[in-house]
Symmetry: C2
Subunit: 156 residues, 2 copies
DNA sequence: TGTTGATATGTTATACTATAACGATTAGCA
DNA sequence: TGCTAATCGTTATAGTATAACATATCAACA
């Protein structure tokens, strides 16, 4: 599972940025320098980063250091599916399946903060059934499992 | 589903407070005035309230108006299962099944802010399987479905 | 009874997260 | 070119949460 396993991380980054690039060109979206840089920053880690963590890195990269700079880029990335917001952490993570329509769920390690993305089936599982019989229309499901990742087993 | 349907709400409150009372007596916990009042406030609404909403009401009830007053009471209620935190809303809701061991999930209406609590099976569903094969140990699952409740269907 | 340790409260200050607002600039297109 | 929408720069402020420390309460128990 990407996020917990060793892998060729440089590939991980370059293919995702390239995918975002292509998608934006096709869809008429602007992957501006700040947006691209934030995506790269997120891709650099398989964990969630807070907006202010990102802002700090942006500042070192010569971008303005005001919160809206980070939030605007993050809003763009989340809106177009290049990144996801982790509600539990008030933080953001790069999407592991960019360009593919999906309904993400997450495994969050409380020890090392690693994040892995999986597919969600909340809307079709038990909760979906409850919603259906109740007449509730699910538009989006936040599914975030908190626990201990394989690398941290045995460490408290 | 409690939260979306009409029901005898006075009962809803009194039985839950009584249950909390009994549980605390048995478990040697102190349901102090502030804690009890916060529980009553939460029970008064089938929706999530922010800590500062609660603080405001506490202040009108003669309690001190500093954030820790609300947060401490909420921490107690959440810790002992009388209330739940809704990550998506940075807010809190009274538990609909106090005293029963459970793993809650929520249906959140984005129109009227009503909240309904259901059982979660995230740890035993698809995500649970992924976690198991990965070696990730799920300790807790945040499951919050955002959508439109039966009472708000047809209103946007 | 008096000590002690655990729990709860009062209070001040501060940290962290997020958005409003508005003017300047730029990109894309008729 | 001129128009329009999108983006960016910047300041200010709103909203959420916790650190820290002093005080108070209460039960266990020597
Ligand atoms: Zn990688
Ligand atoms: Zn994704
Ligand atoms: Zn509950
Ligand atoms: Zn509703």
């Amino acid at each position: 599972m990407i996020g917990f396993e060793h892998h060729n991380h440089a590939d991980c980054i370059s293919t995702s940025v390239e995918a975002a690039d292509n998608y934006c060109r096709t869809a008429g979206l602007q992957l501006t320098p700040a947006r691209r840089r934030v995506l790269e920053i997120l891709l650099g880690e398989h964990r969630a980063l807070g907006a202010y963590d990102i802002l700090e890195i942006l500042a070192k990269n010569g971008f303005a250091a005001q919160p809206p700079v980070a939030y605007r880029a993050l809003d763009f990335l989340v809106k177009h599916g290049f990144a996801h917001r982790i509600e539990r952490l008030n933080a953001f993570v790069a999407c592991a399946h960019p360009g593919i329509e999906h309904d993400p769920s997450f495994l969050l390690c409380r020890i090392c903060d690693a994040v892995a993305e999986a597919q969600s089936d909340a809307a079709s599982g038990r909760l979906g059934k409850v919603a259906e019989t109740t007449g509730f229309k699910i538009e989006r499901a936040v599914v975030e499992a908190v626990g201990v990742c394989p690398n941290c087993r045995g460490e408290t």
